[in-house]
């Protein structure tokens, strides 16, 4: 039963990684922009939730709901005022600018919150669990996973069922022609990043309640997110979930064999998938 337990924990952990990755996949899929500050933005959102919880005494879930619109506006403005200027044929400017943002956010958080590691308290939920037969499943990890599925269902609905989603896909296909159809690409991009920041906020809630966090842990989250997106095949949201699960399971299995192997096992799984399927598990038909 130990192994089944390990794998279930891994799948649930994969939900967290999928949440880290979904925002990255959204932004990359629409504007081919790799946001190197993505991990730091997750940590920033976690501090925002922490601030709302500690200053106003809010329940962390309500604090997250309050943080969602704030992060949407932040993402919208960041894209509209800064990142849109970097988009073009050259891939270097967006990398440099988002790397710069990453440094600025980390140091800004260090200045404001110090290097102490913090945690968002979820009260009794933290230790609550469901007993299914011989297996016990933590309520928070289960919520994390369900949230990831919910986020991915929602993103797919937006992408394939709404006018906004069609504009996303049209702009990603050919932004010049989209302009001729009356689409304002800059605003579509800004809305996409705003949405990605809402996903980031949800990810931040589970990051902050699961374990301690501090201002410098963003880049490592970026790497997990990146691996999940690439395993998934760049552009498929369900693929991103699959990618997150693969890394999550590899990590928990690795940790069971030897606790020192947890992180390494995740990266090895990533490399193995790339060896077998260089374009990821669910690549786009046309690229």
């Amino acid at each position: 039963m130990n192994w089944i337990d390990t794998i279930i924990q891994g799948i649930l952990l994969g939900g967290l990684y999928a949440l880290f990755a979904a925002g990255l996949a959204l932004v990359f899929g629409i504007m081919r922009l790799v946001n190197l500050a993505h991990g730091d933005l997750i940590v920033l959102a976690a501090f925002l939730i922490l601030l709302l919880v500690s200053a106003l005494g809010l329940n962390p879930f309500i604090a997250t709901a309050a943080a969602l619109p704030v992060m949407f506006v932040l993402g919208w403005a960041m894209q509209f005022l800064v990142l849109n200027r970097t988009l073009g044929n050259d891939i270097l400017p967006p990398l440099l600018v988002t790397f710069g943002l990453s440094v600025v956010i980390q140091n800004g958080l260090l200045e404001g919150f110090s290097a102490d590691s913090r945690r968002i308290s979820a009260g009794a939920l933290e230790t609550a669990s469901l007993q299914i037969g011989p297996i016990s499943i933590g309520t928070m990890p289960l919520l994390t996973f369900l949230s990831a599925v919910g986020v991915i269902v929602a993103l797919n609905l937006i992408f394939y069922r709404t006018s906004l989603g069609r504009a996303f896909r049209a702009t990603s296909d050919d932004s010049a022609t989209a302009g001729l159809m009356g689409i304002r690409a800059e605003r579509i991009f800004a809305t996409a990043t705003g949405l990605a920041m809402m996903v980031v906020t949800i990810a931040a809630l589970y990051l902050g309640t699961r374990a301690n966090f501090d201002p410098t842990m963003g880049p490592a989250r970026l790497i997990y997110a990146f691996e999940a997106v690439i395993i998934g095949g760049l552009g498929s949201f369900w693929g991103t979930l699959a990618g997150g699960i693969i890394i999550g399971v590899a990590q928990t299995v690795g940790a069971t064999i030897n606790p020192e192997w947890q992180i390494l096992a995740g990266h090895i799984a990533f490399l193995l998938v790339l060896l077998v399927r260089p374009r990821g598990l669910f690549p786009r038909a046309v690229d």
Binding site: S163, R166, A167, R169, A170, S172, D173, D174, A176, T177, A178, G179, L180, M181, G182, I183, R184, R284, A285, V286
Partner: protein, 239 residues
């Protein structure tokens, strides 16, 4: 008042003048053909009118308003629709979705409001049976039709057609001409760049001839087709 008026419009790429003091006006409801040898600046002319390329000098007025400095998106909303010589559909979207995007964003309406009109356009352009296929899976004729359909979805006042009859068989060409004639009859102004002259001349009543970025002829179809310059430069016939 003309729907479109170009005044002394010029554009150079380096030393190459692709538009050299081009001036002409198009009346509402008029259908104008643009002819000229390859490299004469015909597609560039369209890019200048849609705003994909900025003019170096001169002014472009659309429906009485100076649009010279406006971006393509604003001109689309004002009523400029175009098709590309090499069809550029949104390949990841279905045929119907291609129209919905043009319809909803090109006229600032909701998809619900434009859905029916988009379906009508699909019928008119013969694409209805393909409505739910990915645009990337279409063949050439259907891609050309989709170009036309998507431009129509934006509810244009003026339609810029870029060699839409090129590469089609005679029968396909006839059908397309019939569709274009119907669109024109509804009051949409048309500027049509085309090498297939019999198709062009069966719709338009006036021709503009471009050569090295300059307008070297502007007049009714018969006069232009009979003129010595045009026959020499464009048709390459010694007279």
């Amino acid at each position: 008042m003309p729907i479109l008026a170009l005044d002394q419009v010029s554009k150079s790429f380096g030393a190459l003048k692709v538009a050299d003091q081009i001036s002409f006006a198009l009346e509402k409801g008029e259908a104008l053909g643009v002819i000229g040898p390859n490299g004469a600046g015909k597609s560039t002319l369209f890019n200048l009118i849609t705003g994909n390329i900025r003019v170096d000098a001169g002014t472009i007025r659309f429906d009485g308003e100076d649009v010279t400095r406006q971006p393509p998106m604003a001109r689309c909303l004002a009523g400029v629709g175009r098709t590309f010589q090499i069809p550029q559909p949104f390949e990841q979207l279905t045929v119907f979705e291609n129209l919905l995007v043009g319809g909803a964003f090109g006229s600032r309406k909701t998809e619900k409001d434009v859905g029916e009109r988009c379906a009508d356009i699909l019928v008119e352009t013969g694409l209805y049976p393909k409505a739910n296929q990915l645009a990337g899976s279409l063949g050439l004729l259907q891609r050309k039709r989709l170009e036309l359909a998507r431009a129509l979805a934006t509810d244009p006042k003026i339609l810029l057609l870029d060699e839409i009859a090129g590469g089609l068989t005679e029968g396909e060409c006839q059908e397309l001409v019939e569709t274009i004639r119907n669109i024109h009859r509804r009051g949409v102004s048309i500027i049509w760049v085309e090498h297939v002259l019999h198709a062009l001349n069966s719709v338009v009543s006036r021709l503009v001839v471009l050569h090295f970025g300059r307008v070297i002829g502007d007049g009714d179809t018969e006069t232009i087709m009979a003129s010595k310059d045009v026959r020499e430069i464009y048709l390459g016939i010694d007279v």
